[in-house]
Structures are given as C-alpha cells and as structure tokens.
C-alpha cells in the first residue's frame, strides 16, 4: 500500500502500535505451530513420557487397523462437504431470490439470533425434535401414529450422518448469510442488478450471473472456514451420530480419553489424519469452485434470462425450514427445563416444576460463571487487540496482506484437534492446563478472528474526514481514536464484542483440552449429558447457553441508543 495514504507523520508516530499486528499474530500462531509439532511427534511414535523414544510408523499402522476408521474418515469428509455445499447453495439461492425484497430483512432478523446460539445447543434441540421419543412424534402419538411406546427407529441420532448435516446447515446458513451481507457492501451489487434487470434478467438469474461471481471471492475465506469446521466438528457429531458410526473427530477424542495410554499415539496420528482430511476437503471444494466457474461462464454466456419457477420458493422454504427446526428444538428444550415429568407420548409435560432451576442452582452456577468470565475476558482481550491492529493499519496505511488474513484464519481452518492435542502438552509443561490463562488463550484463538471479521469493515468504512476534521482542530491520534472513532463506532464495536462472546460460549474442544476438566462451561457440561442425561438438566443448560449471547447482543443493540439519548438529553 502506498505510504502517502497514511496521515502525516503517521508511520513515525504509530510507535509501538506498528508492532501490534505482528505481535498479535505471533502470540496466536506460535502456540498453534508448537501444538501442531506436539501432535506430529507422537503421531510418529515420539513421546518419551509414554515410552515412545524412537520415530516409527506404528501409530499409523494401528490407526489403519482400527475397525471403522476408514468409514469414520469418509463420514467426516462427506458430511462436512455436503453441509457446506447445501448451506452455500441455500444462501446463494436465497440471496438471489430475495435480494432487494422485504424477505431479506425478515430472514436476517430470524437468522442472526440463531448464529448466536452455540452449535451444541442447536444440535441438542434437533436431537430432541427428531428422536423416536422426540417432540414431533410425541405431538403425533398415539392419535395419528398409534405409537404408545417410541418406535425402534434410528431417526436421531442416526448412523448415516444426515442429522449431523442438518444441524451443521442450521448453523452455517446464518453464518454464511451474514458474511454475504457484509460482503455485499464491497461489491457494486445494486448497480449490477439494475443493469441486469434493464437487460431483461429476472431477479434470481441477474443476481447469480452478475453479483455472485464478484461476491464469491469476498466470502471465500469464510466458506473455507465452514468446510474445515464441518469436516472436523466434534461436539455436534457426538450428539447426532450413533456410537458405532462416529466421525473421525469423535474417534480421536475417544482415543485421547482412553485409559489405555498407548492409544495416545493413535490419537495423535488420527489428529494428523484429520488435518489431511480437511486439506482433501478444501482441495475438493477448490476443484468444485473451478468446475462451477467454467460451467457458470457457459451458463452466463448462453444468456438465459429466467430461472426455473419454484426455485426461489424452494430456497426460501429450505432456509426457513432450517431456521424453524432450530427454533422449535430450542423451544422444546426450554419446556424441558420447566418439566417435572414428561413421558412419551405426552405432547407437553404432565407435571411442571421450577426445581430444575432452583434445586440445581448451585450446580449450574459454576459452569455459568466460568462461561461468563471466560467469554467476557477473551472477547475483551481480542477486542482490544483487534482495535489496536485496525488503528495501526490506518495510521501506517498498511492494510494486512492476503497472506496475513490467511494467518488470522489459521485457527479456523486447521482442525482444532490437530493442534489442541499438542498444545495440551505445552500447557501442562507451563503449568497452565486447567488454569484460566490457558483457557482464555485457547478461546482467544477462535474469538479473535471472528471479532476481526466483524469489526474490520465498519472500522475501515468510517469516513476519514471525521478524523481529519478532528486533527485540524488540534487533536492527536490517540485523542481522535478515543474521542471520535470509538464513540462513532460504538455499535459495531459492541456487536463485535457480542460476536466474540458468543463464539466463546459455544467452544467445546478448546475448553475440554485447555480446561483439563477443572474448568467446565455450559457447553462442555451440556455435551457431557447429551448422550443420555436428564433432559431437564440439558434444558436448563441449553437455555442458559442461548440466553447469554442473546442478552449480550441485545445490550449491544440497546446501549448506543441509550447513550445517544443520554447525550442528547444532557446537551439538548
């Protein structure tokens, strides 16, 4: 970037600020790299503490011989890619069909809160909805189905992984949709659409042919993050796949937790394999991108003006259906949290009670407190770092290169288990396992990229004339930062903070590894119970999991309004 874009004296005055972006990346990526090495060494037989003192391929041999590994690997690959493809298609078709209509805003209002709810909570809601003893069959039994006992069918969880795909779609659709919304500001969407429509293209074909090709590069990194996440997700898979047909990630966690310590080597090899699977999935996706691009070019050149009828209804239906399942599942579990007895096939509890909340209050208190301070601390630290990075970028006039952005995304693209496994050994070495410092660091890895994603565009979009006007009035850069930029950006800053908090609330694997069982959150407690625990307790945990981030988003929305009112009240 040109140095002359920087404000006068900017690069010299920025001082320590110039070091912040590099430092931020080093603090994050150093331990990730070390964690990867810590996983790689035992995968090749080297872990002296467990008697592995020579490099060998034995861990890979035992991994390959383990029954069902190939199936589990394939299941991870297929479910992850399907979930991404379905989510992306739904979002693209919906945007094409609804861009510029009132549906756009409405759907956003429904999807944004779903994004705030942790994956595990949505997955557990889905499990209750679709299980053979679930809410849907309860509502239809026995009057319609004739069942007075739950049918012996593997509806949810299931051995094929379609519940896993469905749950991922429920969560990735809102994510990709909001990412698309952000990216739409960076492409001349409205102008393109006006031109396309004046040439006779209908809304959908116009959007798909003129906006999507320019939009896609902007959301490519988030899409890659979705691919990597979906292929390697552990908590959702634990909840929605059956015990004998797990995904690779679930198997790795099982081995890592096995009393037979020799399985640690196999777990390390599995964690490496998980990395390979993610790479393979990304490679497949990139190949599909290329194929889609050349097919798309042919399609655009042919010049068809109309999309098949019903496609927009299908996109809207798919999107709303996924959102509805998400909401219904959460409502079902909320009802559970107030139930005393709710046996099959009753559609609603036969006895109600507040005891789940009152009697278990002290059991809920500890994970609740950990979740809250962990979320607040990691979001606050990440927010400060991101603000400093963005400010450094404006003062030095140096935008992060594409490569730096990729680095920032590393924790989202490298499968969590691949470096968390090794990072745990590091944490133990530093005496930080199960210590809040290690846990906050582990969460920061995932919170920081999302806060950066959320805040970078509004920060860069702020009209630079405000800062220049303040400078003309004699304000120094820090004063401009504190008195002009921060107040004007209060709303996006608070929203970014809420995003970071929501990400932290939902993290499972980093909490399990860095918390070392001593620090538990609502999410780890809920996932531990998901397999067969008391649904009433699951209900209370899920309600809290959802309420916490939503409360913070509500605060983020309301605070700027109240503050403005207070300011104008005082001054007016």
């Amino acid at each position: 970037m040109a140095a002359d874009a920087a404000p006068p004296d900017g690069s010299r005055r920025a001082g320590f600020l110039r070091l912040v972006p590099g430092l931020t990346l080093a603090v994050f990526l150093g331990p990730v790299a070390a964690g990867l090495v810590g996983t790689l060494l035992p995968a090749f037989g080297f872990l002296p503490a467990l008697g592995g003192e020579a490099v060998s391929l034995d861990p890979w041999r035992t991994l390959a011989e383990y029954p069902g590994v190939a199936d589990a690997t394939l299941r991870s690959f297929v479910t992850g890619l399907s979930a991404t493809a379905i989510s992306f298609t739904l979002v693209a078709l919906f945007c094409a069909a609804a861009y510029g209509t009132r549906w756009f805003g409405r759907v956003r209002a429904v999807l944004a809160p779903l994004l705030a709810v942790p994956h595990a909570a949505l997955a557990m809601g889905l499990a209750f909805l679709l299980a053979p003893s679930g809410w849907i069959l309860r509502a239809l039994s026995p009057w319609l189905t004739g069942f007075d006992r739950p049918p012996d069918l593997a509806l949810a969880p299931d051995p094929y992984g379609w519940n896993l795909v469905l749950a991922l779609v429920m969560k990735e659709v809102p994510f990709l949709f909001l990412m698309t919304l952000g990216a739409l500001n960076q492409v001349p969407a409205e102008r393109s659409m006006r031109v396309a429509q004046s040439l006779g293209y209908d809304r959908m074909s116009g959007w798909l042919k003129t906006v999507l090709p320019r939009l896609y590069p902007q959301i490519r990194l988030p899409v890659f993050a979705v691919v990597a996440f979906s292929v390697s997700v552990v908590d959702v898979a634990m909840i929605l796949t059956v015990t004998p047909a797990p995904t690779l990630g679930v198997l790795i966690l099982r081995w890592a937790n096995d009393p037979d310590l020799t399985l640690q080597f196999q777990a390390a090899a599995g964690a490496c394999l998980q990395g390979v699977v993610v790479l393979a999935a990304l490679g497949t996706w990139i190949a599909a991108e290329k194929a889609a691009a050349s097919l798309g070019r042919i399609w655009i050149r042919r010049g068809a003006r109309r999309m098949p009828a019903g496609l927009n209804a299908a996109a809207l239906g798919g999107l709303c259906g996924a959102a509805l399942l998400g909401v219904l599942g959460l409502v079902g579990l909320t009802i559970w949290s107030f139930a005393r007895r709710w046996r099959f096939p009753d559609a609603l509890p036969s006895e109600w009670s507040l005891a789940n909340w009152t009697r278990r209050a002290d059991q809920l208190a500890e994970p609740l407190m950990t979740t809250v301070w962990l979320g607040l601390a990691s979001a606050a630290i990440a927010l400060v770092l991101v603000l400093l990075c963005l400010e450094a970028e404006q003062r030095t006039g140096r935008r992060p290169t594409n490569r730096a952005l990729w680095l920032l995304y590393t924790p989202l693209i490298v499968p969590q288990v691949a470096f968390l496994f090794g990072a745990q050994i590091l944490l133990v070495g530093g005496g930080l396992d199960g210590h809040w410092i290690g846990l906050v660091w582990a969460h920061l890895l995932f919170v920081l990229p999302y806060i950066f994603l959320s805040l970078s565009d509004p920060y860069r979009a702020l009209d630079s004339r405000y800062a220049r006007a303040a400078a003309c009035l004699g304000a120094g850069p820090w004063r401009i930062f504190g008195r002009v930029k921060l107040p004007m950006l209060l709303r996006p800053i608070l929203i970014a903070f809420a995003v970071g908090f929501a990400v932290s609330v939902g993290e499972y694997l980093p909490t399990v590894f860095a918390g070392a069982g001593r620090l538990t959150t609502l999410t780890t407690e809920a996932v531990a119970l998901a397999g067969g625990g008391d649904r009433r307790t699951i209900g209370t945990l899920v309600v809290l999991q959802g309420v916490l981030p939503l409360a913070l988003f509500a605060l983020a929305a309301v605070t700027p309004v109240l503050m403005r009112r207070a300011t104008f009240g005082r001054e007016g």
């Binding site: 503490a49 467990l50 053979p132 003893s133 096995d258 133990v428 067969g532």
Partner: protein
C-alpha cells in the same frame, strides 16, 4: 458352590502376586496437621447428580473437621485424570501435580500402577482401614483381580443390577439365556451400552460367566485360550444383536441413558452398577414408582471402587485425610443412603462400634432396592486382560 470356588481361586491368585509393604514414617497426627489449610483437588467422575452432591457433602465435612478445601474436578471419564498425570510426568512436573486424589479402579488403576504413577502404599497409614476385615472380605484388596498393594483405598462396592417396570414386564428373566428369549420375543426392547463403556463391558462379562465352561479361567491372564473360552459369548451375541434395540446398530451411553429409555418405554430393562439406582431415579422423578430391581439367579458381577493418590500430588496429606474420612462410618453410611448414592459399604459391621453400626441400621431402603439377601451372590471381575481383548474383539465384530 461354584461362586465361592471362584472367589477362592481369585484370592489365591491375588496373594501369590501381592502383599503389603511396610507402613509410612509420618504419624497420622502429623499428616492431619500438615493437611490443614490445603486445597484438595479430587478428580472424580461427575456424571451423576446424586454422587456430585455426596462429594460436595464430603467437602463440607472436610472443611469443618480438618480445614481442608475440597475441589471436585468432575471427569466424564476417569482416564482424563490418568492422562493428566501422564502429561505432567512427561513435562517433568514430578511434584506439585494438579491431581491430588482420584476415584479409580480396574483398568485405570492398573495403568497407573504399572507406570509407577501412584503414591503409597497408603492404606497402612489410614486409621479407618482397620474397620475393614480384610480376611473376611479378601476381594477388597483385589481390584479386577489386580492386587491393590495398598496403593488405593476402597470407599464403596458396586454390583450389577437390572431394573424393569412392573407395568410392562410381569416376569423378569433370571438368566442371560432367559434375557435372550425375552429379546427374541420382544424385538427392539433389550439393549446394553457399547463397550468400552464399563457397564457395557460388565454386561459382556456377566454373559461370559454364565456361558463359559470354566469360569476360573477368567481369573488368570487371557492367553491362547481366548478364542476357545469366549466362543460361547460370541455365539450368544450373534443371536442377541439382531433382536436388540436399533438392531444392535446403536447403543445407549450408560445407565442414565438406559434409564431414560426405560422411562420412555423404548426398552424393557435398564442396567446399573448401583443397587440403589432404581429408587434414586424414582426419587428424582426419572422413573415411575412401578419400577423394581432384579438380579440373575446365579449372581451378578460386583467390584470395589477406590481412591488413589498420584505420585506427584501437591496435597498428599489432605488426600490421605480425605481417603481416611471416606472410610469413616459417617461417610460410608451416608454413601449407602438410597437418596444419596445407594452404594454398598466396604466396612465390616463387626469391626464397628455400637454407634457406627447404628448409623447403618437407621438407613431406609428405597421401594425399588433389593435387600442384602435378595441381591444374590457376587461374581468377581475377570482379569483385566479379558476385558481389553473382549472390547477389541467386540469392536471388530459389531463396531460399525
């Protein structure tokens, strides 16, 4: 009787392998004094609310009596604690470790003992250990046939029981063969947790005891005889699996999952390792009050669980005091209370004072809990090598 023969054989094997080394140098008073003000990290499975409440109560009592602050590190699998100690050893943290006390038995104990990860022997130093008549109950020092060597202190006994709803099943099966008949007549209504979940493994061992020709073979390490000895088990499972819940393609995660399935009416039987589980589930509104407990006529598998102290524990004195407190009549009687845990005590009644015995006599019994006589004979755990190989073999046959 065949069972007492099995126990005698188990004892002979155990005595041949173990024996208690000499007691520690520090006096008990010194240990108690050193423990004052320490914070004790007890790593214990945290998946049951009743058990968590009990641990919390132990914490209150330790604070009152000994000025020890107890922190319950809730594990979903005891192996997590083992791994932590291993990781600490790997990182060179040979003192000041993060785990002070572990609720442990079986495979995990064997793994830690084999790798010299335990502090001890500890039981010779515990005053309350004298309340156990080891001569009358030799099984207490055999953890899954592995001699404890005093490296772990017992604090409860468990036994496999079955739970059924009298509203759905009139005559519960009295043997594994009868269970198969019931499953065949009612497809999809019988299931068990998948090994290596311990209840699932216990179910397999239970079947094995009934089906093998010579149960004594199970007390020695599994060797070349593995295939021959276990052949009847696989034949049994091959017939059972097609008529299991979900055709044997999915399995519940443990006794809580089974109790949920029983309550929903999805299955006819739940399994548990806690004889008081049915009563406590009724008390927690998790099962209707029409459920009852039953055991198999020829006995069911039972075992003892223990607490052990890692070699690098930071607060060994507090851990010793806690282990001793867990052996007090007060703590044992509370543990056996059906509303609390419903576990069987490890203490020998004839070693207790009048006052101590009275605490046990006063315990109520839940409506669905069997009395000591009705609980039937207890079968010993086989040597862990059987378990490891059965789990691997099961996974190969029915894993996916």
């Amino acid at each position: 009787m065949a069972i007492s023969k099995i126990w005698r054989a188990a004892l002979a094997v155990g005595l041949a392998l173990g024996g208690l080394p000499a007691a520690q140098a520090q006096s008990w008073e010194e240990t108690v004094a050193e423990a004052r003000g320490q914070t004790l990290y007890w790593n214990a499975w945290g998946g049951d609310e009743g058990i968590n409440d009990y641990v919390a109560w132990v914490g209150e009592r330790l604070a009152e009596e000994y000025d020890i602050e107890l922190v319950h590190v809730k594990l979903s699998d005891t192996a997590e604690a083992v791994r932590k100690v291993v990781a600490e050893k790997a990182a060179g943290r040979h003192a000041d470790g993060s785990v002070d006390l572990i609720w442990i038995n079986g495979e995990n104990f064997k793994a830690m003992k084999d790798q010299d990860l335990l502090h001890g022997p500890i039981t010779p130093s515990l005053p309350n250990y004298a309340l156990i008549d080891v001569a009358a109950n030799p099984a207490i020092e055999l953890d899954f046939t592995i001699p404890t060597g005093g490296y772990e202190s017992p604090y409860g006994q468990a036994k496999l029981v079955f739970i059924y709803d009298t509203q759905t099943v009139s005559e519960p099966p009295a043997s594994m063969a009868a269970l198969l008949d019931h499953a065949a007549a009612n497809p999809g209504r019988v299931t068990y947790p998948a090994p290596p979940q311990f209840l699932g493994t216990t179910f397999l061992k239970q079947a094995l005891y009934e089906l093998v020709d010579d149960p004594e073979a199970l007390l020695l390490e599994a060797g070349d005889n593995f295939d021959a000895v276990t052949a009847p088990l696989w034949a049994y499972l091959d017939r059972l699996h097609p008529v299991l819940w979900r055709d044997g393609k999915d399995f519940p995660s443990g006794d809580d999952a089974l109790i949920r399935l029983l309550d929903e009416g999805a299955v006819d039987f739940a399994l548990s390792f806690h004889p008081g589980k049915a009563s406590s589930a009724i008390a927690q509104d998790l099962l209707p009050d029409t459920v009852r407990t039953f055991v198999l006529a020829e006995g069911t598998i039972g075992n003892t669980h223990y607490v052990a102290i890692p070699y690098n524990a930071a607060h060994k004195a507090a851990a010793m005091v806690a282990a001793n407190f867990l052996l007090s009549p007060e703590a044992q009687a509370r543990k056996q209370h059906p509303d609390v845990w419903g576990d069987m005590t490890v203490l020998s009644m004839d070693r207790l004072s009048e006052e101590g015995r009275a605490q046990f006599d006063a315990l109520p019994r839940g409506i669905a809990t069997l009395g000591p006589a009705e609980l039937g004979p207890t079968l010993p755990e086989p040597h862990p090598s059987w378990m490891t190989r059965i789990e691997a073999s099961w996974l190969e046959r029915y894993g996916s």
